[in-house]
Symmetry: C2
């Protein structure tokens, strides 16, 4: 499981909503059931997993570990929580049960195979699912979008306003970065999680200017700090005439208010001036206004940091804008102008991203909101949390839905690799079995197959790591940036066919002989 660490200090309020009562009521009713049955302290094992990779792909980034760790380490029912539970449980519930709840903590619980007193680990089901499921989904979505965009495009997450409330937005920003995005527009994710933040200006800034406003101080010093201050508004009008002549436009055509907005923004951010080109008309207003301001800044030694397009055919407009930038750079002998970044946004999904990332595209920066954070192709991952053993005895859910069968027993998991580093299969076995040995042949049951298969792994990697034991972190969690690097390394080790976004080759999962035998035995024992 990839883990996210904040770059800045932890904020105690940040996950205030993730607390013991953020759970389904049946967890509390079952707690009372276990307690009355005298089973509250029996040691139980749960596993959190999902059944199918999302979006029709063959990989999933498992994310959310840091949030789970934080939740577990602070898990405690407060008086108000216990009082609320008392108000929804039967009135004759024994006070001793509520005393038991008050004393609960997770000091006996490791993650994310979760093992501990039956009553406690049952209570953890809903919050752990809530913390892992969407984090993993959105991280995987981000990784897919990164695969489509290729390594060079800059990807900006900007979905806060489309997320499920504040926390959905914070989770999306954090785990989109983990999955391979470069930055977020969400300032809180920067403050609390250390995600790089980015953003410039919106249409409302542009349209708020009529062109009649007088800047309180239009004077700007050269970038070097040396030389006299210059009235930027005057310089911009000078450049506007040159630009309009060059582009064959009337000097009245570019919108005055838009130009005033660009000048105001340039005065505020001379070293980071970006033009949002499509508030009125890109070719006849946004672009000439941008060029006039950028060239005026240029004479003072500042280089504009780019342009943004937010409507229309983004690819085609980017090509046209690049053409004008090139021609203008040549005309006025300002070579840096031709290669400034072109940023685009506006409901970009996987298909549109593929278009924008095609070989001759002039798009450099891509902002994605809705289709990243809401994961419209599949808006939930379907994680489950299942009891696999209690009191040392394996448990299995046998149901008429073959899909909903669970694999019994506390387990270990290993990735078996061939000598060239490619993935042979992932092996599930019982925790007590000796781990597979590199170079040694072993027989396994591929999931769903009718017969044993022989493999000889050149390398064996354990897939599970113990993170929390008796309430303590076993080792520090990696930083968010480190986890982000690990994710890209991990994806790069998958074969190309596993990385295909449609109809990929699925990663094979196999069961050890002992685990398969246990499944068969429990199936046979079931009377139904």
């Amino acid at each position: 499981m990839a883990a996210a660490a904040p770059g800045s200090e932890l904020d105690p309020e940040c996950r205030a909503a993730a607390r013991p009562l953020l759970t389904d009521l049946y967890q509390a009713t079952m707690a009372l059931g276990y307690w009355r049955a005298g089973r509250a302290r029996e040691v139980a094992e749960f596993e959190l997993f999902f059944r199918r990779c999302p979006f029709g792909g063959a990989f999933t980034l498992a994310a959310g570990l840091r949030d789970c760790v934080r939740f577990l380490r602070t898990f405690r029912l407060r008086d108000a929580d216990v009082q609320f539970l008392a108000s929804v449980l039967p009135p004759d519930t024994e006070p001793a049960f509520f005393e038991h709840l008050r004393a609960l903590d997770c000091s006996e619980v490791p993650l994310l195979q979760v093992s501990g007193p039956l009553l406690v680990v049952q209570l953890l089901e809903t919050p752990l699912l809530c913390l892992v499921s969407y984090a993993s989904l959105v991280a995987t979505n981000a990784a897919r979008l990164r695969l489509i965009a290729g390594p060079k495009k800059r990807l900006l997450e900007m979905g806060l306003r489309r997320a499920q409330g504040p926390d959905g937005g914070l989770t999306a920003s954090t785990y989109s970065y983990l999955g391979g995005f470069d930055a977020t527009s969400n300032v809180l994710a920067g403050q609390l999680r250390g995600v790089p933040v980015a953003g410039t200006l919106a249409h409302s800034f542009v349209t708020s200017f009529a062109g009649t406003e007088v800047p309180p101080d239009p004077m700007l010093a050269p970038a070097t700090g040396e030389g006299p201050r210059v009235d930027l508004t005057v310089q911009v009008e000078v450049w506007l005439e040159r630009v309009c002549t060059h582009l064959g436009l009337g000097v009245q055509e570019p919108h005055r208010g838009e130009r005033a907005a660009f000048v105001a923004y340039a005065l505020a951010f001379p070293r980071a001036f970006q033009g949002l080109l499509d508030s009125y008309c890109v070719q006849r207003s946004g672009l000439p206004n941008f060029l006039a301001v950028a060239l005026a800044l240029g004479t003072l030694g500042y280089r504009a940091s780019g342009v943004r397009l937010d409507s229309g055919d983004l690819l085609q407009q980017a090509q046209e804008v690049r053409g004008v930038l090139r021609a203008t750079a040549a005309q006025f002998q300002v070579p840096w102008l031709e290669s400034i970044p072109i940023a685009v946004s506006n409901n970009i999904d996987e298909e549109e991203l593929a278009r924008l990332a095609q070989e001759d595209s002039e798009v450099d920066v891509i902002g994605i909101g809705t289709s990243l954070v809401t994961c419209p192709q599949q808006p939930s991952l379907g994680c489950v949390y299942k009891l696999v053993a209690v009191g040392g005895q394996p448990r299995m859910k046998l149901t008429e839905d073959a899909e909903k069968l669970t694999l019994p027993g506390a387990k270990a998991a290993f990735r078996l690799l061939s000598s060239d580093g490619s993935l042979l299969l992932d092996l599930l076995q019982l925790a007590e079995e000796p781990p597979p040995q590199a170079g040694r042949e072993l027989k396994v049951w591929p999931k769903g197959a009718q017969e044993l298969m022989t493999v000889r792994p050149a390398r064996v990697e354990p897939l599970l790591q113990l993170w929390v034991q008796q309430g303590q972190l076993c080792e520090p969690l990696p930083s968010l940036a480190k986890s982000r690097t690990l994710v890209q390394q991990s994806l790069s080790r998958l074969s190309p066919a596993h990385r295909w976004l449609e109809s990929p080759e699925l990663c094979q999962v196999a069961l050890s002989e002992q685990l398969q035998a246990l499944v068969d035995r429990l199936k046979a024992e079931c009377p139904a």
Copy 2:
């Protein structure tokens, strides 16, 4: 806009994540731009709206007012927030700008046409969108599901584990209730928002029992409290034999562990015993075990509160289970047994819900998670927040995307009704125009039409209400339960054709002559 109020005391931590820095970075960069341009205190008007009703329907519940009000009333940048902004804005930013930020509050801002100092109302864009957009989407989704289910089925929201983190889950539970659901599984939504909570037991509870466990106290007193305590485990075995004979099953067929789990749950909840029937096999294990426990409880005067099915063909199984309940009720002369509620869950979507709600269905309670909270048909509403006036001057975004045009000027909105109470149209006009009069003919421009239309409304209802002025609530927000009732009343006033969930008749929106004239004038003024 419908508003949600907590039934229980407000929790200060609950919305800790909704705070000033929960915003896109460009709001902060634009704030600096406005400030440097000397425009920070200019009075600006923004409107928050969406362009199309979600899910292909003709109505949307506008929700989230309470969260917005709470956010606005506590809006203040703390020192740590200002320091973080200073770290991501240019190093030469004037200290006076940060002083300005430190002093900001929303005491000059009413909702949800938002009017106030330009810099502040710009900063509010992202958090308000974040608080309104998903709340409205999920409330609308809940209302659609309620329309499909009809008024009698009990609908339970259980999507916490599929939501976008803790806050997504809390928002989903609150606004699903607002939209017409009866209860939630989410305990925190009960504690913080007063939503009724419900839930019984999961498969893990059932599978955690092997049947070898000995209950610490199997004795149960009669429901009346009078008479000797009885060993429930013994009674259950007696009834199991009778039930198996009646159903033609061997007494060894029903799973022992499942029966032990049911007994444990019945001992904990004798007055609220529910059987989860499909951990093993419904007909040969879950149902006979349930009947044995329910009948044993019945002899003590307790009535089981129902059964739940969580896999397979839910409708067909419900019919079969009802058949067995009827036959068993007749056989053992326990008439209450035949009509106990049958609850179902398992990835229920609109289509499956329609099946479960059909006329002869035996399903009484329907739990919906994923397809309610993730809104897979359309996972975001696409709310926008647009500048419509600044310094008293109307503003309009004119762009090459006709879809992205905005309507200029601070506006008023009215619902025009005919004498039978049916909806004629919703009218948008400039705020300074006199409101339309009931009984008076008026000429309006239906949106997108080429000519004026004449209407004579029998009744006129204002659609906007002033909630917050100068930082103060103008009147108390209605309680969540009250809002829920208002929602159902409001929906019932729409014509059936407006309530169709597919290809509905769209509600007509029209512009006043003055507003249309303003649009035309601003379009003509734009050079591009």
